[in-house]
């Protein structure tokens, strides 16, 4: 049984009378402990798919089932609870809160979920991404790669079932990007994290176990890497 399943899911946006079909008839299953990359050109629907996977949004057709729970029709509070417990999110532009130090950024999801022992778990999570020693740095004192590591630590701190990463290397040079990919790979291998990553680069996708190729909102091909 997979952690995430799309069942003929579709997504339409309607803005001032016009409807844009961002996703059409997506069926996909992500197994626990796998590293899945979604690859495709800009505008093909990668981010939309990830947002559905992360319970940030609902499909307009079909179903998205996260750890056995269909996201529709849950209310906002139930969705929030689902996200809190099961999802970690990593963005292209890091999205660290500038007013918080590295460790405070990492412990934020735990605090929002009202859990305790936040500081210890945050420090531990930073260690997992090789960022120990940077706990009290402010985001502007970090390089892009370091910021992305902190963001990954933050996404993992509450031990989510699924890590969703939207272009995590998009804002980084290729060497730094490779380090981040290696880190994600290691997390899958050593800590059995499940990752769903969007990328437009095939090299980046190559780090994954499975590559889902998309075009115009549809899955073109699912390619088992390793």
């Amino acid at each position: 049984m997979g952690i995430l399943r799309f069942e003929r899911a579709g997504k339409q946006y309607s803005t001032d009378g016009q409807t844009v079909t961002a996703l059409r008839d997506i069926s996909l299953e992500v197994e626990t402990g796998r590293f899945v990359a979604v690859a495709g050109r800009s505008g093909c629907g990668k981010s939309t798919l990830l947002n559905l996977a992360a319970a940030m949004d609902f499909p307009t057709a079909g179903r998205v089932i996260l750890d056995g729970v269909p996201t529709w029709p849950l209310d906002d509070f139930a969705l929030t609870r689902l996200r809190r417990g099961k999802i970690g999110f990593v963005f292209q532009s890091f999205q660290l809160l500038a007013a918080l130090s590295a460790v405070e950024n990492v412990e934020l999801p735990l605090m929002l979920a009202g859990e305790n022992d936040c500081r210890r778990r945050a420090v531990e999570s930073l260690r997992r991404v090789d960022m120990d020693g940077y706990e009290n740095r402010m985001p502007f004192q970090l390089s892009g790669g370091q910021m992305q590591r902190v963001a990954i630590a933050r996404a993992l701190v509450h031990r989510p079932r699924l890590l969703v990463a939207d272009e995590p290397t998009g804002n980084l040079d290729s060497a730094t990007g490779d380090h981040i990919l290696a880190l994600l790979r290691r997390l899958v291998d050593e800590h059995s994290v499940t990752i769903l990553m969007a990328t437009h680069s095939l090299e980046a996708a190559a780090a994954a176990d499975t590559i889902v190729r998309m075009r115009d909102g549809q899955i073109e091909q699912i390619q088992e890497g390793r």
Binding site: T80, F89, A99, L100, E104, M111, L112
Partner: protein, 830 residues
């Protein structure tokens, strides 16, 4: 044309896009301007009124003659014999109360036969039959009475019935007019008149030569001028208070503009890169400010006109009870007022725009290439500011120790301003130290509290301005509350000390600061002889003019006062010897406001006109007094009667014999008064009434503070909206990280709550310091009252709670915006 289009694109369009914020800012400015205008209009109307009410039918005149206790009638004859062309018009000027509706109206006695002016005023000339009738009266057109109506007027202690014989022209306004003879009889003038108006080309010295020495000759209209001057300090202080709301409003323009400049830095950089000059950028920001100011000024003018309706009632009531009889004149919005509204609206906006405009002009073209506003943290030099603040505090301390300038506490105001500057400059350092101290505590409350605290400390400049604006409003409110509360307590203590009699009698025709209706002497004699009465103290007051300022001359029974009554003197613990000495003729005691106004000390001699003579009086002591601001000179009753022989009393204090029940005593007294229109008040009633007048007097100051707070809270709401819009990415991010909608809303509430807490804390401290300046410098120098410091704890707690709640409520709408944001959209913006 091109520049207009640029203006439109870079100034007007963004303003229109952020409609809510623009509207809130304009509203804040409008409130500030409105209050200033309302107070100005109300002050004008209130100051114009005494003029209007007593100048009824005065017409044109060159001189006027007045005297303490009235001008002897023979002066009229002597003036008439001068070998100059001359018209002499003696007048009696008093007030009466219409028996039915308790309306107080001027009652004027003029020589109806000699004075053709009545006909000239548009009314019909009085016929001989009416002139002879004892109940004849003529009504001004605004009285509402018509020819043939009956009107019952209470004059002093007696109700009289009159028949209206004619309605006068518009110059008579709301007054009733009697013939001089009957006015003199009915109002108890014993061969004196209140004023003589003179039309003559003769010089002052010619006229003065034939007048008794105690009479004062002045250019016509001088009295109005004196009253104006007396009101000046009061109006001046009210005016200063009214500007607080505008200052708070200016803070908010500053905040709005500096936020929008910071936010538009990349945009400004692009425009600069495309060739806009520094001057153009400066001009754009300043014109944005000018437009906010213009809109605020225009809206403020309308708002001010509306608020003036309420303000004029409050101001007029204060003027009436503390200074001079008045009925507010109509509110007039003159061209000068319109210009002033625009000037202060635009002026406040431009002044507060200077720094943001300068900062915008400094944005380099390379900013276009930079990574945007997120990287730009407005620098706040908090330690330098703290140092400056300390310097301001020191300067404030020095300013508070200076003497008044021309009778005005200019240095006191300066001290208040410097104190506010001290507080405002210390805020950034305070916030950043508090942020680090409280971090652990906020963490324990939860992620929302921690985030709220961090984001406030993170945008230090914005937070400082907001806390500055809010705490200025809070401080002024606290200061005024402490001042008024201290004053109130001082007055209560003073009344405890002063009011020892069991019953107080006063004529039904109401008194005011310059109006002293009387009780006939025979009534007083009857009361004095009652079985249950131990003693009575007859008090008689006259309006006089001392060195160009109105004052009150009064006589009381020193012997009774030293046995039964009390009066506290400055620097004297036992007043009895002073009362003993006061029994000697040629001695007086003066009230504290009088002593301060005229710089009089014990041992000095006063030269005082009394009746026809000028009398020299030795000052024995200065007593505490809070009854009115014009100041008292008190002599023994026998001294007074020697020069002003009218034995009637303005009011009477009755001391009952020990063991006599209050109600029984009252019944006896009322029996003795036998139908005269005299009020008998118990000690308690009198105090209650006094404190009611006191509270009414200060209602306006509370209203002014309330507006300042409203402005500040509006600012908080508008700033929170901006904060939410600027941080929408972060707010969206919180939702990605598992934050729920209520958590996001709570964070906004925490921010408002922290802002309110900071502002209340700073405001309370600052307010305490300001209240010292108000009580011991400004109030002393402008009014001459000693006020003892007192904490009005309940009022302060209430006020602070209210402000706090208002601040948190200001977050309701911004919090709603925050929860409505769509996280996916905002996170991926840019």
């Amino acid at each position: 044309m091109a520049s207009f289009r640029l203006l439109y694109r870079f100034v007007i369009r963004p303003m229109a896009r952020e409609r809510l914020r623009t509207v809130l800012t304009v509203f804040a400015v409008a409130l500030g301007v409105g209050v200033v205008i309302a107070i100005e209009l109300a002050g004008q109307a209130a100051a114009g009124s005494f003029h209007a009410s007593m100048e009824t039918l005065a017409g044109r005149a060159d001189y006027e003659v007045t005297a303490a206790g009235g001008v002897p009638v023979e002066a009229v004859g002597r003036l008439a014999t001068l070998a100059w062309p001359i018209r002499v018009r003696p007048r009696i000027e008093d007030y009466g109360m219409i028996a039915g509706d308790l309306r107080v109206v001027p009652v004027i006695g003029v020589d109806l036969v000699a004075d053709g002016r009545l006909a000239a005023a548009g009314g019909e000339a009085p016929d001989a039959e009416s002139l002879m009738a004892a109940d004849a009266i003529w009504a001004g057109p605004d009285t509402g009475y018509h020819k043939g109506d009956t009107v019952r007027l209470i004059l002093n202690d007696t109700e009289r019935r009159f028949r209206v014989r004619g309605v006068l022209g518009s110059a008579a306004g709301g007054a009733f007019v009697l013939d001089l003879g009957s006015a003199s009889r009915l109002l108890g003038r014993k061969s004196t008149v209140d004023r003589i108006l003179i039309e003559s080309p003769a010089s002052e010295s010619v006229l003065r030569a034939v007048l008794p020495p105690g009479c004062e000759l002045a250019r016509f209209g001088a009295r109005t001028e004196e009253n104006r001057r007396m009101l000046a300090a009061f109006r001046w202080n009210l005016r200063v208070l009214s500007y607080i709301a505008l200052v708070v409003g200016a803070f908010l323009i500053y905040n709005t503009l500096s936020v929008s400049v910071v936010r538009r830095r990349p945009e400004i950089g692009i425009v600069r890169a495309m060739g806009a000059t520094r001057r153009a950028v400066l001009g754009a920001v300043l014109s944005e400010a000018a437009m906010l100011g213009l809109a605020g000024g225009a809206a403020g003018l309308l708002l001010g006109r509306v608020m003036a309706e309420g303000a004029v009632r409050l101001v007029a009531a204060t003027v009436d009870s503390l200074y001079v009889s008045s009925r507010p004149a109509p509110i007039e919005v003159t061209a000068a007022i319109v210009a002033w509204a625009m000037a202060i609206g635009i002026g406040a906006a431009l002044v507060s725009a200077l720094t943001p405009a300068w900062e915008a002009a400094q944005v380099p073209p390379t900013e276009a290439m930079a990574r945007g506003r997120r990287e730009y943290q407005a620098r706040v030099r908090r330690w330098r500011n703290l140092g400056l603040g300390a310097a301001c505090g020191l300067a404030a301390w020095l300013a508070a120790r200076q003497a008044p300038v021309g009778g005005r506490p200019l240095f006191g105001y300066l001290a208040a301003l410097l104190l506010i500057a001290t507080g405002v400059l210390a805020i950034p350092a305070l916030i950043s130290s508090l942020a680090s101290v409280s971090a652990g505590c906020l963490r324990r409350i939860g992620a929302e509290a921690l985030l709220a605290g961090r984001s406030l400390a993170g945008s230090l400049r914005r937070t400082s301005v907001l806390v500055g604006a809010l705490s200025t409003a809070v401080a002024m409110t606290v200061a005024v509350a402490i001042m008024v509360g201290s004053f109130r307590q001082t007055v209560l203590d003073w009344m405890d000390d002063r009011l020892k009699a069991d019953l107080y009698l006063r004529p039904a025709a109401p008194a005011s600061a310059d109006r002293h209706p009387t009780i006939r002497a025979e009534l007083a004699d009857r009361v004095a002889k009652l079985e249950g009465v131990a003693a009575i103290d007859r008090f008689r007051a006259y309006e006089i003019n001392y060195q160009g300022m109105p004052a009150t001359l009064a006589g009381g029974d020193s012997r009774v006062a030293s046995r039964f009554g009390r009066r506290s003197f400055l620097g004297v613990s036992n007043p009895v010897p002073i009362f003993r000495a006061l029994e000697h003729p040629g001695t007086a005691v003066v009230s504290e406001p009088f002593a301060n106004k005229h710089n009089v000390h014990p041992g000095d001699r006063l030269r005082l006109p009394m009746g026809a003579r000028i009398v020299s009086l030795k000052v024995l002591g200065v007593f505490y007094d809070y009854a009115n601001e014009r100041g008292y000179i008190i002599v023994d009753r026998r001294t007074l009667l020697r020069y002003l022989p009218d034995p009637a009393s303005s009011n009477i204090a009755v001391y009952l014999k020990p063991g006599v029940d209050l109600e029984a005593g009252r019944r006896q007294v009322e029996g003795a008064l036998a139908g005269a229109r005299v009020q008998v008040l118990s000690n308690r009633r009198l105090r209650q009434e006094a404190i009611r007048i006191f509270d009414r007097t200060f209602a306006i100051t509370y209203a002014l503070e309330a507006v300042a707070i409203l402005v500040a809270v509006t600012g908080v709401a508008s700033a929170l909206v901006a904060l939410v819009i600027d941080r929408r990415r972060e707010l969206g991010l919180l939702r990605f990280l598992g934050g729920s909608r209520p958590q996001v809303a709570r964070m906004i509430y925490y921010e408002a709550g922290l802002l309110g807490l900071l502002a209340n804390g700073v405001g309370l401290l600052l307010g305490m310091a300001l209240s010292m300046v108000l009580i011991f410098v400004i109030n002393r120098q402008s009014f001459g009252w000693t006020i003892r410091f007192h904490w009005p704890v309940a009022v302060l707690l209430g006020v602070l709670t209210l402000i706090y709640m208002a601040t948190v409520l200001a977050a309701v709408y911004p919090a709603r915006i925050a929860t409505r944001l769509r996280p996916i959209e905002v996170v991926h913006e840019e």
